[in-house]
């Protein structure tokens, strides 16, 4: 039992294929990952909009339970969860008053000694690319992709402490060792509209349209993402955006772990490929990957 997994609310819900592909990838690499028992939601964007203390204690509860379960390393695949967990650690360790209040709310002491990884950080910093490269069974030959990092993978820089803030390369590096061609572009860290998905859909439609317009120019086979919100916004809203702007994209938005799973010899079922709204099968068949 080496790595604890904090799946977050979307892992078996709207980002189910993300969860399935992470499970498949970790099993292909023989990684010892175990889900945290009885984990609680991090509060996501709603808690920090409502109460600073609540936004701190919800992740802190998880961090304390992870330590109690004997984990020192915690994988939080959802980029927003990872941000909230890392923020809680930073704030608790630097703000004595907040720490005292938070411990009073939870009724337990926070002892520290736990590292949180987002999913890209986990594979590139902890597992390392050489290990993944050695395990590739089916290279993603001739696949032209563009990596979309979104906003929270590298931000805020002091909390994320990962990759180059304005010009990250970690996802591109993963794609390259899997054999794909990964293109550079200027919009890689622009925002997709994140949590406005259900509340201010107009904003999401506008921002995703701007992104898809830029992506269209690159003539790529698919977009590679690492965040459940980026994926959902760009994939499930794509038809609506096409209708509103009277255009056509049809660009599959695929989790990097789905492509990684395929390259490591897993089946399309294993990585939940059929759950994507924009169908990725035709292009993957054309390229001889499926």
């Amino acid at each position: 039992m080496k790595y604890g997994l904090y799946p977050g609310c979307s892992y078996r819900g709207t980002a189910r294929e993300f969860g399935e592909s992470i499970d498949a990838t970790c099993s292909a690499l023989n990684l010892d990952v175990k889900e945290l028992e009885d984990w609680v939601c991090c509060g996501a964007s709603s808690a920090h909009n409502t109460s600073h203390l609540l936004a701190t204690v919800l992740p802190l509860h998880t961090l304390i339970s992870a330590r109690e379960a004997g984990f020192e390393k915690l994988l939080a695949p959802c980029i927003a969860c990872a941000w909230r967990l890392k923020t809680a650690i930073k704030e608790i360790e630097t703000d004595e008053k907040l720490r005292m209040k938070a411990e009073k709310v939870i009724g337990k002491k926070y002892e520290g000694g736990i590292d949180v990884f987002n999913i890209v950080e986990f594979f590139t910093k902890e597992i390392k690319l050489e290990k993944i490269k050695k395990a590739v069974k089916k290279p993603l030959k001739d696949l032209r992709v563009v990596c979309y990092y979104g906003c929270m993978l590298t931000r805020p820089p002091k909390i994320a402490n990962f990759d180059v803030v304005e010009d990250p390369r970690s996802l591109d590096n993963i794609m390259k060792i899997l054999g794909a061609e990964s293109l550079d572009w200027p919009y890689k860290t622009e925002c997709c509209g994140v949590s406005f998905a259900l509340s201010r859909t107009d904003v999401v439609i506008k921002l995703c349209h701007d992104l898809l317009e830029e992506i269209k120019k690159l003539e790529v086979d698919m977009v590679v993402v690492a965040c459940p919100l980026c994926q959902t916004n760009l994939d499930t809203r794509q038809k609506e955006i096409e209708k509103k702007y009277n255009t056509k994209y049809g660009i599959p938005i695929v989790y990097f772990t789905q492509l990684m799973g395929l390259a490591l010899g897993k089946t399309p079922e294993d990585v939940g490929l059929k759950r994507l709204t924009v169908n990725p099968f035709p292009v993957l068949k054309k390229k001889g990957i499926l």
Binding site: G13, T14, V40, H52, P156, S199, K206, T277
Partner: protein, 184 residues
């Protein structure tokens, strides 16, 4: 000689107490606004909101929809030459607005936040169908997002029943204790 107007610093101090950020470090370079993905929809742009706080214009900041349109994407703070964290300032302003009973001018966002947290308090996790239904009821937009929701449902991405954490009393205690401590 003309008397120099005094600036009311009370609101800026209140923001600082809430989140630790000093808005007076801002010298209006506008980098935050230039990178902001939702500035186009805001009446007052991020740099203007900071200026308004510097000047003590509390009502202007808390009654307007602009602070509610911040996505917390953190582009502004990552680029700020003064290391001022606008996301924290926006969070603080939103928290103060709610605490002091200001009406949230973007009801959809208020509905999303209250629905989200009530589900976490009840189940310990998010119940996605429940979240969608609650928002629909609160905003009275029943048909919105049906075109997106149905395919997700058929792809097995929505579960019918909520997943409740076993130790739900610990979660409820967290919510209760937080409220009690904040009211003190």
């Amino acid at each position: 000689m003309r008397e120099i107007a005094k600036i009311d610093t009370t609101f800026a101090e209140q923001i600082k107490n809430e989140c630790g950020e000093n808005v007076y470090s801002c010298y209006q370079c506008k980098k935050c606004t230039l990178g902001c993905p939702t500035a186009y929809a805001m009446r007052y742009k991020p740099h203007q909101l900071i200026e308004a706080i510097q000047l003590g214009q509390k009502d202007l900041v808390l009654k307007d929809q602009s602070i509610w349109l911040c996505l917390s994407c953190q582009t502004c703070m990552a680029r700020c030459p003064q290391n001022l964290d606008f996301v924290k300032v926006a969070d603080a302003a939103r928290i103060i607005a709610q605490r002091e009973g200001f009406k949230i001018p973007v009801p959809e966002i208020a509905a999303f936040n209250s629905s989200f947290l009530s589900l976490v308090e009840r189940f310990g996790r998010i119940y996605e169908i429940g979240l969608v239904m609650l928002i629909k009821l609160k905003t009275k937009q029943i048909m919105k997002d049906m075109a997106m929701g149905l395919p997700l449902f058929f792809k097995g991405k929505f579960s019918f029943l909520p997943h409740k954490v076993e130790n739900i009393s610990a979660v409820r205690r967290i919510f209760r204790n937080t409220k009690e401590l904040e009211q003190k």
